[in-house]
Amino acid sequence: MTTLFYIEHTNGKVSDQSLKAISATKDLGEEVHGMIAGTSIESVVEEASKIAGVSKIIHIENDEYNNILAEKLTSAIVNISDSYNYFCAAATTTGKNVMPRVAAKLDVSQISEIIGVESSDTFIRTIYAGNAIATVQSSDAKKVLTIRPTAYKAAETNDTGCEVEKINPENIPNISEYINEELTKSDRPELTSAKIIISGGRGMQNGENFELLDKVAAKLGAAVGASRAAVDAGFVPNDYQVGQTGKVVAPELYIAVGISGAIQHLAGMKDSKVIVAINKDEEAPIFDIADYGLVADLFQVLPELEGAI
């Protein structure tokens, strides 16, 4: 049988998250088909067709798939589900939105945010905000998985593309409608693909002060993230949130500034290679996991840091 992997794209590129997550599919031991959706996306389809390990691209070419709605994408996947025994996507907000719907339509359990494949039916995932790691075995004939991108390296690309099959789904459900998107604009790299992240918490006191982080980030080529407290207080938009219920990141370097280190925050960043914490409270739990801790007032040391790099 075959694995179907749903490939996301933004701004004319295959999403970095999909490129990472698709690497997990080779451990499933089956042929891999990539599914990609939208119109006027020839260059993305070509890029996708060159992903190493993918033997065919299924291109849903229909305007209704230019903005992904769970109802419509699920129906397109379920239409062709007889040919597949694994259905996978990156554990992004799109993957998490769509894959459980696919699973229920196929009457199978879904396995969320796997970080490892132990065998063809056994998978590893974190539970309780990363405080425990479970190994789960599925007895379903068809398996629906979302894959945590930070657990994998981006797939390589081939020189030549594989076969592309265009499909145009029938009976597209019409019970939901896309209105618009307000995407956060930033010159900084995307959080989930950045090599360096500097995040601010409640200690930043307000949104203007995040400029102190922006300046350091500009020098390091880093992305800027935040704790939930900072997002809830309105300092920064929701998509900055790192943690159990925000984004999971694992950069080379994570700098936590004015963040106490609640388990829900740690769940999103503790697999970073090197962690730095800057906090004025030497008892803050973030220091328990930081490689380098600096007990200091952030308003004093952030300008110093900007000057020193």
Binding site: D107, T245, V274, Y292, A308
Partner: protein, 249 residues
Amino acid sequence: MKILVPIKRVIDPYVSIRVKSDNTGVETDNVKMSMNPFCEIAIEEAIRLKEAGKAEEIIAVSVGNQSCQETIRTALAMGADRGIHVLIDQTVEPLSIAKILSKIIDQEKPGLVISGKQAIDGDNNQTGQMLAALTDMPQGTFASKIEIDGDKIQVTREIDGGLQTIKLNMPAIITTDLRLNEPRYASLPNIMKAKKKPIDQKTPDDYGVDITPRLKTLKVIEPPKRQAGIKVENISELVEKLKNEAGVI
């Protein structure tokens, strides 16, 4: 309109988790339990819709052991009108929960279902989407704002790049994100009043749903511990270490 709110009882988010020494799961004996935070947000949203005159009745449903009654009482004290408790002692997968909930929807015919986006124990983030699939309803997941507009509902969703707005035919399923609202605390008089509100006790058999698990947990282990590192004195020492010792900048 009726609003159905599925709520889960979980280990309190501020309790530190201990993995059992036989690696079969996580210690739950004598551990403080609470309503899943996302479910509190769901109840709160339902109450606000009722207060705004957009809903008449709020039904809180919980599937789980006898203590779930306590969690339902909390929802009733916040402002839900009645409860349904589906008694089952073993842990149930989101697919089975969704199957039970879909049968309850057949009976109650709510105009809206508001569930949490994620239960913070299993971190599955599946039940609402599965329920939407089984009932063929549209889904507005990770909602940070909802607005009923005639027989449609406009939902602002928290997505990876920012915010997305969609419009759904009702009945629809909404799953809550953290910033949808801030849940209220139940007042003492309302806690007293909630004692008189009805809770229906059911079993999965009442709904004729097969809840045989499809997944088997083979083992649960502790994550590898990260060693605490060192404290540096100042920024120049930090930058020197990051450059020469860690080699990350």
